[in-house]
Symmetry: C2
Subunit: 342 residues, 2 copies
DNA sequence: CTGAAAGCGCTTACAG
DNA sequence: CTGAAAGCGCTTACAG
């Protein structure tokens, strides 16, 4: 395996210098070598097709220049939602801009210890914890850990770790408040997976907005979803069977709103004339549903990007970033909301 | 950075044995140590919270137990399509099942050399090339490389590298043939990004199916798309403005079909009564469009999974796998296709 | 400006 | 069964 790959030693021999010198010119250390030496070294590098071994370099420097992205292995994450892909893209951008590579660390629900092993085994300089579950032991672990971390796409209430996320409380509050101002008071909700902080926070914001409008929340209009299409569909079916049924339904992400839309169509109910619908995320597809979905936008790519940047800073400055970063949510008005008819 | 992390030396001291012995018990080498020794070592490991350093281990063994996933940084990949997320999930599964970690290697169109550097710098034992562009220098490079690789989600015509993908030629052929059998002959196509082999192959299959039905392809009914929503929308707008317009439109992926659906609705044209529509992928959302999308299913997760498995085998057996793996495509009939009316 | 040497934290023959 | 030693491919003071 990997036979015949040239090492720094062979470069040194070919250039007729020591390996220290090769290393120095590779690093461009000013004042450590003459121009002629550099020239010979670069020639040898080129002739041999030499590339520094990243592993050896990492061991010697005790820095790997790679960050880990830790993500739960489960529904609603990678495979069922563009959310994770977009965030990963942002993280990739932020990391590679600083010349870090990225490794995926997947945590299996039944075996978080394995993930911890991969975080602590020296193979990454830091990790971004992506949309972790509320009961994940990872966050408590990372608070004690020597390896730097930042939390992205979720804000555990009491953590000391730096977090970057959307202000979903404000976003959801605004959306529900707007519905109430339009005259809706029978407002149903299809919740996200409540193991996520985001889902819990969005429910709280919904309740707060109702209370502030002096509307008593009706438990019959509350459905526990899971952030995926099927959950949205089932949720809408359920809500549409309540009596009286809601005049508006808020979904805690757009994927569920798409599922809900299908169930609503199936019943022959018109959106927004007979029922209003609002989502959360502003996923790419949300402008393409019919009718186009009114939703709350969050900057998922930027969340990933900034999380990676904060992590890199933390790694390089050697101390923890003290502030959280909360992006504002933005209400995106399209065509699924209208005042109630009755 | 990472101060205070215990090393094998400290474990050895705590257990009162040599580091070789520690290493041997860690590896469980039969017959290399007494039960009592093992006991003392494990105690020390536990007390100190020792974890073997993965980098040091990699250097010593010249094996990193990590595979790279190389993916183009660009539209239509990660952020715009669930395709990549699902494939990544499959790769993750396949890799972690064999205790490999995975690193993302992103190739920037303007700088493929950088990606090659990350492949060849010893930080991965092998790579899966995910949905590479046809003109990517990566595949030619990997054919010469010492590092094992498998191509996933694309089949470059003449490569010696093992490939795993769907048989999209058969899938597309079947779909178009079916349309012709229903009586369609004005069949438009919204192509994928033609820099992908998949897009080219699907076009060929479309043409082949037309020819086999003695239908002359009309260049006016051919639109070059890009695998994303906007392209599908623009493509449908274009096709609906041709005279006469197609009675059926085939989209080279579901994401574009969703875009097309929107443009069609916007024009007040009914699907499938006035125009039939077929997609490709069977993305999760495709059962949720209205009407639900008829499409060609490909097993994206399994493509990723098997690609990773083949790669691991190649790494461990030390020799290249000789056969490609072509999953059958399956026509999924939902509600967007009907016989033409005229 | 240059190079010998120690060291990064492991593994792996090898000798005993 | 056990340990001293060499080695993996680099980097980094340090002496000259």
């Amino acid at each position: 395996m990997r036979r015949g790959v040239p090492t720094i030693r062979e470069v040194a021999e070919a250039a007729g210098v020591s390996i220290s010198t090769v290393s120095n010119v590779l690093y461009g250390k000013q004042g450590y070598y003459s121009p002629e030496t550099a020239e010979r070294v670069w020639q040898a590098v080129k002739n041999l097709g030499y590339r520094p071994n990243h592993i050896a370099r990492s061991l010697a420097r005790r820095r790997t220049f790679t960050v880990g992205v830790v993500v739960e292995q489960q529904l609603g994450n990678v495979s069922h939602n563009l959310y994770f892909g977009i965030m990963l893209d942002g993280i990739l951008q932020g990391a590679t801009d600083s010349d870090y590579q990225v490794k995926i660390i997947r945590v299996r629900p039944d075996n978080p210890e394995q993930a911890i092993g991969h975080i602590e085994d020296g193979s990454v300089d830091g990790v971004v914890l992506a949309a972790l579950l509320a009961d994940s032991p990872l966050i408590e672990h990372m608070e004690q850990s020597h390896v730097p971390s930042v939390v992205a796409g979720s804000i555990p209430p009491h953590t000391k770790l730096p977090c970057v996320d959307v202000d979903d409380t404000a976003g959801m509050y605004q959306a529900v408040k707007w519905l109430t101002q339009l005259g809706h008071w029978r407002i149903g909700i299809i919740l996200g997976d409540l193991r996520h902080w985001s889902a819990r926070r969005r429910e709280s914001a919904y309740l707060m907005a109702l209370r502030d409008a002096s509307i008593e929340p009706n438990p019959a209009w509350r459905y526990e979803g899971n952030y995926i299409l099927e959950g949205g569909e089932a949720g809408a079916r359920y809500l549409l069977n309540t009596h009286p049924r809601p005049t508006a339904i808020v979904c805690c992400n757009d994927t569920m709103a798409m599922g809900a839309l299908r169930a609503i169509h199936e019943r022959g109910i018109r959106v927004p004339e007979e029922v209003s619908l609002v989502g959360f995320d502003d996923a790419p597809a949300s402008a393409y549903t019919s009718p186009p979905l009114t939703t709350v936008r969050q900057p998922v790519f930027d969340i990933g990007l900034r999380a990676a940047e904060m992590l890199v800073q933390q790694i390089e400055r050697g101390k923890r970033c003290e502030h959280n970063l909360l992006f504002p949510a933005e209400l995106v008005v399209r065509n699924t909301v209208a005042p109630p008819r009755d």
